[in-house]
Amino acid sequence: MNDDLYQQAILDLAKSADGAGRLDAPDGAAQGDSPLCGDRVRMEVKLENGRIAALAHEVKGCLLCRAAAAAIGRHAAGLDAAQVAALRGEVAALLAGADAAPAWPELKCFAPVRPHRNRHGCVLLPFDTLIEALKS
Protein backbone atom coordinates (compact mmCIF):
# COMPACT_ATOMS: atom_id res chain seq x y z
CA MET A 1 0.00 0.00 0.00
CA ASN A 2 1.22 3.49 -0.81
CA ASP A 3 0.11 4.59 2.64
CA ASP A 4 3.06 2.63 4.01
CA LEU A 5 5.32 5.30 2.58
CA TYR A 6 4.04 7.78 5.08
CA GLN A 7 4.68 5.84 8.27
CA GLN A 8 5.35 7.84 11.41
CA ALA A 9 9.13 7.35 11.24
CA ILE A 10 9.43 9.08 7.88
CA LEU A 11 7.05 11.86 8.88
CA ASP A 12 9.03 12.45 12.09
CA LEU A 13 12.33 12.40 10.25
CA ALA A 14 11.13 14.94 7.68
CA LYS A 15 9.61 17.17 10.32
CA SER A 16 12.80 17.11 12.41
CA ALA A 17 14.48 19.07 9.58
CA ASP A 18 17.80 18.27 11.22
CA GLY A 19 20.54 20.30 9.60
CA ALA A 20 18.19 22.70 7.84
CA GLY A 21 19.61 26.15 7.23
CA ARG A 22 22.66 27.82 5.75
CA LEU A 23 26.33 28.05 6.76
CA ASP A 24 28.50 31.13 6.87
CA ALA A 25 31.32 30.82 4.34
CA PRO A 26 30.94 27.13 3.47
CA ASP A 27 33.92 25.31 1.99
CA GLY A 28 31.68 23.50 -0.46
CA ALA A 29 28.15 23.97 -1.75
CA ALA A 30 25.96 22.51 -4.46
CA GLN A 31 22.42 22.71 -5.70
CA GLY A 32 20.58 19.67 -7.00
CA ASP A 33 17.43 19.73 -9.12
CA SER A 34 14.99 16.97 -9.87
CA PRO A 35 13.97 17.19 -13.52
CA LEU A 36 10.92 15.09 -12.73
CA CYS A 37 9.20 17.31 -10.21
CA GLY A 38 11.26 20.47 -9.93
CA ASP A 39 12.43 19.70 -6.41
CA ARG A 40 15.55 21.55 -5.36
CA VAL A 41 18.12 20.77 -2.68
CA ARG A 42 21.03 22.95 -1.57
CA MET A 43 23.82 21.41 0.48
CA GLU A 44 26.58 23.37 2.20
CA VAL A 45 29.55 21.91 4.06
CA LYS A 46 32.50 23.05 6.13
CA LEU A 47 35.45 20.68 5.99
CA GLU A 48 38.30 19.79 8.31
CA ASN A 49 40.99 17.50 6.93
CA GLY A 50 38.66 16.41 4.16
CA ARG A 51 35.84 15.46 6.53
CA ILE A 52 32.51 17.16 7.07
CA ALA A 53 32.81 19.44 10.09
CA ALA A 54 29.47 21.15 9.62
CA LEU A 55 26.59 20.75 7.17
CA ALA A 56 23.42 22.63 6.35
CA HIS A 57 20.73 22.04 3.77
CA GLU A 58 17.75 23.74 2.22
CA VAL A 59 15.09 21.55 0.64
CA LYS A 60 12.17 22.53 -1.54
CA GLY A 61 10.83 19.05 -1.94
CA CYS A 62 8.56 16.27 -0.84
CA LEU A 63 8.53 14.43 2.47
CA LEU A 64 10.87 11.74 1.16
CA CYS A 65 13.42 14.32 0.04
CA ARG A 66 13.14 16.25 3.29
CA ALA A 67 13.49 13.07 5.34
CA ALA A 68 16.63 12.03 3.46
CA ALA A 69 18.13 15.48 3.94
CA ALA A 70 17.30 15.35 7.66
CA ALA A 71 19.04 11.98 7.98
CA ILE A 72 22.09 13.52 6.37
CA GLY A 73 21.87 16.52 8.66
CA ARG A 74 21.72 14.21 11.65
CA HIS A 75 24.63 11.92 10.78
CA ALA A 76 26.94 13.33 8.12
CA ALA A 77 29.43 15.09 10.42
CA GLY A 78 32.79 13.35 10.32
CA LEU A 79 32.29 11.65 6.95
CA ASP A 80 34.60 12.13 3.99
CA ALA A 81 33.61 12.08 0.33
CA ALA A 82 34.26 8.36 -0.10
CA GLN A 83 32.07 7.51 2.88
CA VAL A 84 29.25 9.71 1.58
CA ALA A 85 29.48 8.01 -1.80
CA ALA A 86 29.39 4.59 -0.12
CA LEU A 87 26.36 5.63 1.89
CA ARG A 88 24.62 6.80 -1.26
CA GLY A 89 25.31 3.36 -2.68
CA GLU A 90 23.73 1.75 0.38
CA VAL A 91 20.59 3.84 -0.03
CA ALA A 92 20.39 3.03 -3.74
CA ALA A 93 20.79 -0.66 -2.91
CA LEU A 94 18.09 -0.42 -0.26
CA LEU A 95 15.74 1.11 -2.83
CA ALA A 96 16.67 -1.60 -5.30
CA GLY A 97 15.65 -4.25 -2.79
CA ALA A 98 18.86 -5.18 -0.95
CA ASP A 99 18.36 -6.78 2.47
CA ALA A 100 21.50 -5.37 4.10
CA ALA A 101 20.71 -2.76 6.75
CA PRO A 102 22.15 0.67 5.95
CA ALA A 103 24.62 2.23 8.35
CA TRP A 104 22.15 4.83 9.60
CA PRO A 105 19.10 3.16 11.18
CA GLU A 106 16.76 5.92 10.00
CA LEU A 107 17.38 4.97 6.40
CA LYS A 108 15.35 1.78 6.84
CA CYS A 109 12.23 3.91 6.72
CA PHE A 110 12.82 4.30 2.97
CA ALA A 111 12.31 0.59 2.27
CA PRO A 112 8.61 1.08 1.39
CA VAL A 113 9.73 3.41 -1.42
CA ARG A 114 11.11 0.39 -3.32
CA PRO A 115 8.11 -0.28 -5.59
CA HIS A 116 7.73 3.41 -6.44
CA ARG A 117 10.62 3.89 -8.84
CA ASN A 118 9.63 7.44 -9.72
CA ARG A 119 10.17 8.39 -6.08
CA HIS A 120 13.67 6.91 -5.73
CA GLY A 121 15.13 10.15 -7.03
CA CYS A 122 13.38 12.05 -4.21
CA VAL A 123 15.36 10.04 -1.64
CA LEU A 124 18.64 10.12 -3.54
CA LEU A 125 18.66 13.82 -4.48
CA PRO A 126 20.07 15.04 -1.11
CA PHE A 127 22.82 12.41 -1.24
CA ASP A 128 23.73 13.28 -4.82
CA THR A 129 23.76 16.97 -3.98
CA LEU A 130 26.01 16.38 -0.97
CA ILE A 131 28.44 14.44 -3.18
CA GLU A 132 28.55 17.43 -5.54
CA ALA A 133 29.04 19.84 -2.62
CA LEU A 134 32.03 17.81 -1.47
CA LYS A 135 33.52 18.02 -4.97
CA SER A 136 33.08 21.77 -5.24
Binding site: N2, D3, Y6, L36, C37, R40, C62, L64
Partner: protein
Protein backbone atom coordinates in the same frame (compact mmCIF):
# COMPACT_ATOMS: atom_id res chain seq x y z
CA UNK B 1 -28.52 14.85 -27.62
CA UNK B 2 -28.25 12.98 -24.34
CA UNK B 3 -24.95 11.88 -22.89
CA UNK B 4 -24.16 9.33 -20.20
CA UNK B 5 -20.61 9.15 -18.87
CA UNK B 6 -21.24 5.64 -17.58
CA UNK B 7 -22.24 4.51 -21.05
CA UNK B 8 -19.43 6.42 -22.73
CA UNK B 9 -16.76 4.87 -20.53
CA UNK B 10 -17.71 1.46 -21.92
CA UNK B 11 -15.84 2.51 -25.06
CA UNK B 12 -12.58 2.56 -23.06
CA UNK B 13 -11.41 -1.01 -22.34
CA UNK B 14 -8.81 -0.04 -19.72
CA UNK B 15 -11.46 1.50 -17.52
CA UNK B 16 -13.37 -1.78 -17.53
CA UNK B 17 -10.17 -3.59 -16.56
CA UNK B 18 -9.68 -1.26 -13.59
CA UNK B 19 -13.15 -0.79 -12.15
CA UNK B 20 -11.86 0.84 -8.94
CA UNK B 21 -9.63 3.32 -10.75
CA UNK B 22 -10.49 7.01 -10.71
CA UNK B 23 -8.41 8.19 -13.66
CA UNK B 24 -8.00 11.95 -13.47
CA UNK B 25 -4.73 12.40 -15.36
CA UNK B 26 -6.24 12.94 -18.78
CA UNK B 27 -4.13 16.00 -19.55
CA UNK B 28 -1.10 13.69 -19.46
CA UNK B 29 -2.68 10.97 -21.55
CA UNK B 30 -6.21 9.94 -22.40
CA UNK B 31 -7.30 6.32 -22.28
CA UNK B 32 -7.41 4.43 -25.56
CA UNK B 33 -10.86 4.35 -27.08
CA UNK B 34 -12.34 1.18 -28.55
CA UNK B 35 -12.43 2.69 -32.04
CA UNK B 36 -8.65 3.21 -31.98
CA UNK B 37 -8.02 -0.20 -30.46
CA UNK B 38 -10.17 -1.89 -33.11
CA UNK B 39 -8.48 0.09 -35.88
CA UNK B 40 -5.01 -0.98 -34.76
CA UNK B 41 -6.08 -4.60 -34.54
CA UNK B 42 -7.80 -4.53 -37.91
CA UNK B 43 -4.89 -2.79 -39.58
CA UNK B 44 -2.18 -5.01 -38.16
CA UNK B 45 -4.12 -8.20 -38.79
CA UNK B 46 -5.39 -7.45 -42.29
CA UNK B 47 -3.45 -4.67 -44.03
CA UNK B 48 -0.01 -4.31 -42.44
CA UNK B 49 2.51 -3.21 -45.05
CA UNK B 50 4.71 -0.22 -45.67
CA UNK B 51 3.10 2.77 -47.34
CA UNK B 52 3.83 4.84 -50.44
CA UNK B 53 5.80 2.41 -52.55
CA UNK B 54 4.16 -0.98 -52.76
CA UNK B 55 2.33 -2.14 -55.88
CA UNK B 56 0.79 -5.22 -54.33
CA UNK B 57 -2.72 -5.26 -52.93
CA UNK B 58 -1.70 -5.39 -49.27
CA UNK B 59 0.48 -2.29 -49.63
CA UNK B 60 -2.29 -0.53 -51.52
CA UNK B 61 -4.65 -1.30 -48.65
CA UNK B 62 -2.12 0.13 -46.17
CA UNK B 63 -1.76 3.23 -48.35
CA UNK B 64 -5.51 3.67 -48.47
CA UNK B 65 -5.84 3.29 -44.69
CA UNK B 66 -3.05 5.77 -44.02
CA UNK B 67 -4.46 8.37 -46.40
CA UNK B 68 -7.93 7.79 -45.00
CA UNK B 69 -6.52 8.63 -41.57
CA UNK B 70 -5.23 11.87 -43.04
CA UNK B 71 -8.73 12.66 -44.30
CA UNK B 72 -10.23 11.83 -40.90
CA UNK B 73 -7.75 14.10 -39.11
CA UNK B 74 -8.41 16.87 -41.63
CA UNK B 75 -12.15 16.54 -41.05
CA UNK B 76 -11.71 16.79 -37.27
CA UNK B 77 -9.70 19.97 -37.73
CA UNK B 78 -11.92 21.36 -40.50
CA UNK B 79 -8.79 21.66 -42.63
CA UNK B 80 -9.23 22.80 -46.21
CA UNK B 81 -7.57 19.64 -47.53
CA UNK B 82 -6.12 16.36 -46.20
CA UNK B 83 -2.70 17.33 -47.52
CA UNK B 84 -2.53 19.99 -44.84
CA UNK B 85 -2.16 17.17 -42.29
CA UNK B 86 1.37 15.98 -41.54
CA UNK B 87 1.68 12.92 -39.32
CA UNK B 88 4.43 13.23 -36.73
CA UNK B 89 5.25 11.39 -33.54
CA UNK B 90 3.39 13.93 -31.40
CA UNK B 91 3.05 17.56 -30.43
CA UNK B 92 6.71 17.89 -29.48
CA UNK B 93 7.84 16.55 -32.85
CA UNK B 94 5.34 18.82 -34.63
CA UNK B 95 6.66 21.94 -32.91
CA UNK B 96 10.27 20.90 -33.43
CA UNK B 97 9.48 20.42 -37.11
CA UNK B 98 8.36 24.03 -37.38
CA UNK B 99 11.23 25.25 -35.21
CA UNK B 100 13.63 23.74 -37.73
CA UNK B 101 11.86 24.04 -41.08
CA UNK B 102 10.56 27.55 -40.43
CA UNK B 103 12.95 28.62 -37.71
CA UNK B 104 16.16 27.89 -39.56
CA UNK B 105 15.10 30.49 -42.12
CA UNK B 106 15.21 33.18 -39.45
CA UNK B 107 18.18 35.32 -38.58
CA UNK B 108 19.57 37.54 -35.87
CA UNK B 109 17.10 40.31 -35.08
CA UNK B 110 14.06 38.22 -35.97
CA UNK B 111 11.70 37.56 -33.08
CA UNK B 112 9.62 34.57 -32.03
CA UNK B 113 6.83 35.37 -29.60
CA UNK B 114 5.75 32.83 -27.00
CA UNK B 115 3.88 33.13 -23.72
CA UNK B 116 4.97 32.37 -20.18
CA UNK B 117 2.22 29.75 -19.95
CA UNK B 118 3.74 27.38 -22.49
CA UNK B 119 4.50 23.72 -21.97
CA UNK B 120 8.23 23.10 -22.30
CA UNK B 121 7.54 21.52 -25.69
CA UNK B 122 6.59 24.97 -26.99
CA UNK B 123 9.49 26.70 -25.29
CA UNK B 124 12.64 24.58 -25.40
CA UNK B 125 12.64 24.12 -29.21
CA UNK B 126 12.61 27.90 -29.55
CA UNK B 127 15.40 28.34 -27.03
CA UNK B 128 17.39 25.85 -29.12
CA UNK B 129 16.55 27.84 -32.25
CA UNK B 130 17.77 30.99 -30.53
CA UNK B 131 21.10 29.25 -29.89
CA UNK B 132 21.31 28.19 -33.57
CA UNK B 133 20.14 31.34 -35.29
CA UNK B 134 20.59 34.21 -32.83
CA UNK B 135 16.91 35.13 -32.86
CA UNK B 136 15.20 36.90 -29.99
CA UNK B 137 12.45 35.30 -27.90
CA UNK B 138 9.73 37.52 -26.51
CA UNK B 139 7.06 36.47 -24.08
CA UNK B 140 3.44 37.47 -23.74
CA UNK B 141 3.09 38.17 -19.99
CA UNK B 142 0.40 36.61 -17.85
CA UNK B 143 -2.38 37.94 -15.70
CA UNK B 144 -2.53 37.00 -12.03
CA UNK B 145 -4.70 33.97 -12.81
CA UNK B 146 -2.28 32.71 -15.46
CA UNK B 147 -4.07 33.82 -18.62
CA UNK B 148 -2.20 35.47 -21.46
CA UNK B 149 -2.34 39.21 -20.85
CA UNK B 150 -3.78 40.28 -24.18
CA UNK B 151 -3.77 43.93 -23.16
CA UNK B 152 0.00 43.81 -23.49
CA UNK B 153 0.18 42.10 -26.89
CA UNK B 154 1.36 45.33 -28.47
CA UNK B 155 4.47 45.28 -26.29
CA UNK B 156 5.68 41.94 -27.61
CA UNK B 157 4.27 41.48 -31.12
CA UNK B 158 6.14 43.93 -33.34
CA UNK B 159 7.20 44.22 -36.98
CA UNK B 160 10.24 42.12 -36.03
CA UNK B 161 7.99 39.20 -35.02
CA UNK B 162 8.21 36.31 -37.47
CA UNK B 163 6.21 33.72 -35.55
CA UNK B 164 3.80 33.74 -32.63
CA UNK B 165 3.59 30.31 -30.96
CA UNK B 166 1.07 29.94 -28.14
CA UNK B 167 -0.94 27.29 -26.37
CA UNK B 168 -4.59 26.74 -27.25
CA UNK B 169 -5.20 25.84 -23.60
CA UNK B 170 -2.90 25.59 -20.59
CA UNK B 171 -2.00 22.08 -19.50
CA UNK B 172 -1.83 23.38 -15.92
CA UNK B 173 -4.75 25.75 -15.43
CA UNK B 174 -7.02 24.73 -18.31
CA UNK B 175 -7.30 28.40 -19.31
CA UNK B 176 -8.31 28.61 -22.96
CA UNK B 177 -6.40 31.19 -24.94
CA UNK B 178 -8.39 33.84 -26.76
CA UNK B 179 -6.56 33.30 -30.04
CA UNK B 180 -8.39 35.82 -32.22
CA UNK B 181 -6.58 38.97 -31.03
CA UNK B 182 -3.26 37.14 -31.06
CA UNK B 183 -3.76 35.95 -34.63
CA UNK B 184 -4.88 39.44 -35.65
CA UNK B 185 -1.81 41.06 -34.09
CA UNK B 186 0.44 38.46 -35.71
CA UNK B 187 -1.17 39.03 -39.11
CA UNK B 188 -0.73 42.77 -38.75
CA UNK B 189 2.96 42.21 -38.00
CA UNK B 190 3.35 39.76 -40.88
CA UNK B 191 4.10 36.88 -38.50
CA UNK B 192 3.04 33.26 -38.74
CA UNK B 193 0.90 31.73 -35.98
CA UNK B 194 1.48 28.32 -34.42
CA UNK B 195 -1.01 26.94 -31.91
CA UNK B 196 -0.13 24.15 -29.48
CA UNK B 197 -3.36 22.17 -29.42
CA UNK B 198 -2.14 19.32 -27.21
CA UNK B 199 -4.77 19.99 -24.56
CA UNK B 200 -7.62 21.16 -26.75
CA UNK B 201 -8.32 18.42 -29.29
CA UNK B 202 -9.60 15.90 -26.76
CA UNK B 203 -12.35 18.29 -25.75
CA UNK B 204 -14.02 18.43 -29.15
CA UNK B 205 -13.38 19.10 -32.83
CA UNK B 206 -11.25 22.10 -33.70
CA UNK B 207 -11.79 24.53 -36.58
CA UNK B 208 -8.32 25.57 -37.69
CA UNK B 209 -9.75 27.84 -40.37
CA UNK B 210 -11.72 29.79 -37.78
CA UNK B 211 -8.62 30.04 -35.57
CA UNK B 212 -6.78 31.81 -38.40
CA UNK B 213 -3.60 29.93 -37.49
CA UNK B 214 -0.84 28.76 -39.83
CA UNK B 215 0.19 25.70 -37.83
CA UNK B 216 -1.65 23.55 -35.29
CA UNK B 217 0.05 20.76 -33.35
CA UNK B 218 -1.39 17.93 -31.28
CA UNK B 219 -0.72 14.40 -30.02
CA UNK B 220 -2.73 11.25 -30.57
CA UNK B 221 -2.33 9.86 -27.09
CA UNK B 222 -4.14 12.75 -25.46
CA UNK B 223 -7.04 12.30 -27.89
CA UNK B 224 -7.83 8.71 -26.85
CA UNK B 225 -5.58 7.30 -29.59
CA UNK B 226 -2.20 5.51 -29.37
CA UNK B 227 1.01 7.27 -28.49
CA UNK B 228 3.78 7.62 -31.06
CA UNK B 229 1.60 9.59 -33.45
CA UNK B 230 0.56 13.20 -33.68
CA UNK B 231 -0.33 15.85 -36.21
CA UNK B 232 1.13 19.04 -37.52
CA UNK B 233 -1.58 20.80 -39.46
CA UNK B 234 -0.28 23.56 -41.67
CA UNK B 235 -2.08 25.95 -43.97
CA UNK B 236 -1.25 24.72 -47.48
CA UNK B 237 0.75 27.76 -48.51
CA UNK B 238 2.57 27.83 -45.15
CA UNK B 239 3.66 24.21 -45.54
CA UNK B 240 4.59 24.69 -49.18
CA UNK B 241 6.94 27.52 -48.22
CA UNK B 242 8.95 25.33 -45.84
CA UNK B 243 11.99 23.17 -46.55
CA UNK B 244 12.01 19.69 -45.04
CA UNK B 245 13.18 19.07 -41.48
CA UNK B 246 14.26 15.41 -41.52
CA UNK B 247 15.71 13.84 -44.64
CA UNK B 248 15.27 10.27 -45.81
CA UNK B 249 12.97 8.04 -47.73
CA UNK B 250 9.51 9.14 -48.74
CA UNK B 251 10.12 12.90 -48.60
CA UNK B 252 12.00 13.36 -51.88
CA UNK B 253 11.18 14.15 -55.47
CA UNK B 254 14.36 12.82 -57.04
CA UNK B 255 17.75 11.96 -55.59
CA UNK B 256 21.14 11.93 -57.27
CA UNK B 257 24.44 11.25 -55.59
CA UNK B 258 24.90 15.00 -55.22
CA UNK B 259 21.49 16.46 -54.44
CA UNK B 260 17.80 15.91 -53.91
CA UNK B 261 14.53 17.60 -54.64
CA UNK B 262 11.62 17.51 -52.23
CA UNK B 263 8.21 15.96 -52.39
CA UNK B 264 5.22 18.22 -51.95
CA UNK B 265 3.67 18.51 -48.48
CA UNK B 266 2.68 16.58 -46.47
CA UNK B 267 5.17 13.89 -47.51
CA UNK B 268 8.01 16.44 -47.55
CA UNK B 269 7.72 16.34 -43.77
CA UNK B 270 7.25 12.59 -43.28
CA UNK B 271 10.74 11.21 -43.82
CA UNK B 272 11.07 7.49 -43.28
CA UNK B 273 8.33 5.00 -42.54
CA UNK B 274 5.62 6.87 -40.64
CA UNK B 275 3.74 5.45 -37.62
CA UNK B 276 1.20 3.78 -39.90
CA UNK B 277 -0.98 1.74 -37.57
CA UNK B 278 -0.90 4.55 -34.99
CA UNK B 279 -2.04 7.05 -37.62
CA UNK B 280 -4.82 4.73 -38.74
CA UNK B 281 -5.92 4.41 -35.12
CA UNK B 282 -5.72 8.16 -34.59
CA UNK B 283 -7.89 8.67 -37.65
CA UNK B 284 -10.43 6.20 -36.33
CA UNK B 285 -10.45 7.85 -32.91
CA UNK B 286 -10.94 11.31 -34.37
CA UNK B 287 -13.67 10.05 -36.70
CA UNK B 288 -15.47 8.50 -33.74
CA UNK B 289 -14.96 11.58 -31.57
CA UNK B 290 -16.28 13.85 -34.32
CA UNK B 291 -19.63 12.06 -34.11
CA UNK B 292 -20.04 12.44 -30.35
CA UNK B 293 -22.53 14.83 -28.70
CA UNK B 294 -19.93 17.42 -27.72
CA UNK B 295 -22.33 20.03 -26.43
CA UNK B 296 -23.65 17.58 -23.86
CA UNK B 297 -20.18 16.21 -23.17
CA UNK B 298 -18.74 19.64 -22.51
CA UNK B 299 -21.65 20.41 -20.20
CA UNK B 300 -20.87 17.17 -18.36
CA UNK B 301 -17.15 17.87 -17.86
CA UNK B 302 -17.91 21.46 -16.95
CA UNK B 303 -20.34 20.25 -14.29
CA UNK B 304 -17.70 17.87 -12.91
CA UNK B 305 -15.04 20.57 -12.86
CA UNK B 306 -17.41 22.92 -11.05
CA UNK B 307 -18.16 20.17 -8.52
CA UNK B 308 -14.40 19.81 -8.07
CA UNK B 309 -13.89 23.56 -7.63
CA UNK B 310 -16.74 23.69 -5.11
CA UNK B 311 -15.24 20.77 -3.18
CA UNK B 312 -11.78 22.30 -3.17
CA UNK B 313 -13.14 25.65 -2.00
CA UNK B 314 -14.05 24.24 1.42
CA UNK B 315 -10.63 22.67 2.00
CA UNK B 316 -8.48 24.76 4.30
CA UNK B 317 -5.11 26.02 3.17
CA UNK B 318 -5.70 25.19 -0.48
CA UNK B 319 -4.38 27.49 -3.18
CA UNK B 320 -5.74 27.27 -6.70
CA UNK B 321 -3.47 28.00 -9.63
CA UNK B 322 -5.32 29.73 -12.42
CA UNK B 323 -8.91 30.76 -13.00
CA UNK B 324 -11.43 30.24 -10.21
CA UNK B 325 -14.39 29.62 -12.45
CA UNK B 326 -15.21 27.64 -15.58
CA UNK B 327 -15.35 30.58 -17.97
CA UNK B 328 -13.17 29.89 -21.05
CA UNK B 329 -11.55 27.00 -19.31
CA UNK B 330 -11.08 23.29 -19.92
CA UNK B 331 -11.80 20.85 -17.07
CA UNK B 332 -8.24 21.01 -15.74
CA UNK B 333 -7.64 22.23 -12.18
CA UNK B 334 -4.29 22.68 -10.44
CA UNK B 335 -3.77 23.46 -6.77
CA UNK B 336 -1.53 23.12 -3.75
CA UNK B 337 -2.24 22.19 -0.15
CA UNK B 338 -0.16 24.42 2.13
CA UNK B 339 2.93 22.69 3.45
CA UNK B 340 2.30 19.42 1.59
CA UNK B 341 4.33 18.55 -1.48
CA UNK B 342 2.30 17.65 -4.60
CA UNK B 343 4.03 14.29 -4.95
CA UNK B 344 3.07 13.34 -1.42
CA UNK B 345 -0.54 14.30 -2.11
CA UNK B 346 -0.54 12.21 -5.30
CA UNK B 347 0.96 9.22 -3.53
CA UNK B 348 -1.75 9.24 -0.87
CA UNK B 349 -4.40 9.65 -3.57
CA UNK B 350 -3.00 6.63 -5.39
CA UNK B 351 -3.68 4.55 -2.30
CA UNK B 352 -7.31 5.60 -2.81
CA UNK B 353 -7.18 4.52 -6.48
CA UNK B 354 -7.18 8.13 -7.62
CA UNK B 355 -4.68 8.83 -10.41
CA UNK B 356 -3.60 12.46 -10.65
CA UNK B 357 -0.30 14.10 -11.42
CA UNK B 358 1.89 16.33 -9.28
CA UNK B 359 4.97 18.31 -10.21
CA UNK B 360 5.82 21.16 -12.52
CA UNK B 361 3.86 19.67 -15.44
CA UNK B 362 6.60 20.68 -17.87
CA UNK B 363 5.60 24.30 -17.36
CA UNK B 364 8.26 25.68 -15.06
CA UNK B 365 7.98 29.32 -16.21
CA UNK B 366 4.26 29.17 -15.37
CA UNK B 367 5.11 27.64 -11.99
CA UNK B 368 7.55 30.52 -11.43
CA UNK B 369 4.76 32.96 -12.32
CA UNK B 370 2.66 31.44 -9.54
CA UNK B 371 5.67 31.34 -7.18
CA UNK B 372 5.58 27.56 -6.71
CA UNK B 373 7.77 24.63 -7.69
CA UNK B 374 4.85 22.38 -8.57
CA UNK B 375 1.20 21.62 -8.08
CA UNK B 376 -1.35 18.82 -8.01
CA UNK B 377 -3.29 18.69 -11.27
CA UNK B 378 -6.68 17.11 -11.85
CA UNK B 379 -7.70 16.74 -15.48
CA UNK B 380 -11.08 15.41 -16.51
CA UNK B 381 -12.40 13.60 -19.55
CA UNK B 382 -15.98 12.88 -20.59
CA UNK B 383 -15.76 9.34 -19.14
CA UNK B 384 -15.22 10.73 -15.66
CA UNK B 385 -18.10 10.79 -13.22
CA UNK B 386 -19.15 12.49 -10.01
CA UNK B 387 -17.82 9.41 -8.20
CA UNK B 388 -14.34 10.15 -9.56
CA UNK B 389 -14.45 13.73 -8.29
CA UNK B 390 -15.83 12.66 -4.92
CA UNK B 391 -13.12 10.02 -4.52
CA UNK B 392 -10.51 12.66 -5.20
CA UNK B 393 -11.99 15.03 -2.63
CA UNK B 394 -12.14 12.23 -0.03
CA UNK B 395 -8.52 11.38 -0.78
CA UNK B 396 -7.48 15.00 -0.33
CA UNK B 397 -9.15 15.12 3.07
CA UNK B 398 -7.20 11.98 3.97
CA UNK B 399 -3.95 13.52 2.69
CA UNK B 400 -4.54 16.58 4.85
CA UNK B 401 -5.14 14.40 7.87
CA UNK B 402 -2.15 12.18 7.21
CA UNK B 403 0.49 14.58 6.00
CA UNK B 404 -0.29 17.85 7.71
Amino acid sequence: MKFSANEWRRHFPLLANHPRLHYLDNAATGQLCEAAFDAVTHHELTQRANVLRGTYKLAEAADAAYENARRQAAAYLNAVAPDEVVFTSGTTASINLVAHAFGDGLQSGDEVVLSLAEHHSNLVPWQMLRARRGITLRFIPLTADGRLDLARLGEVITPRSKLVAVTHASNVTGAVTDLAPIAAAARAAGARVLVDGAQAVQHGPVDVQALDADFYAFSGHKAFAPNGVGVLWGRAEALAALPPFLGGGGMIGRVTAESSTWAAPPRRFEAGTPPIAQAVALGAALDWLRQQPWQAMRAHTKHLAQRLLDGLAVLQELTLLGPRDMQDRLPIVAFNLAGIHPHDVCQVLDAHHVAVRGGHHCAQPLMAHFGVEGAVRVSLAPYNTEADVDALLAGLREALKKLK
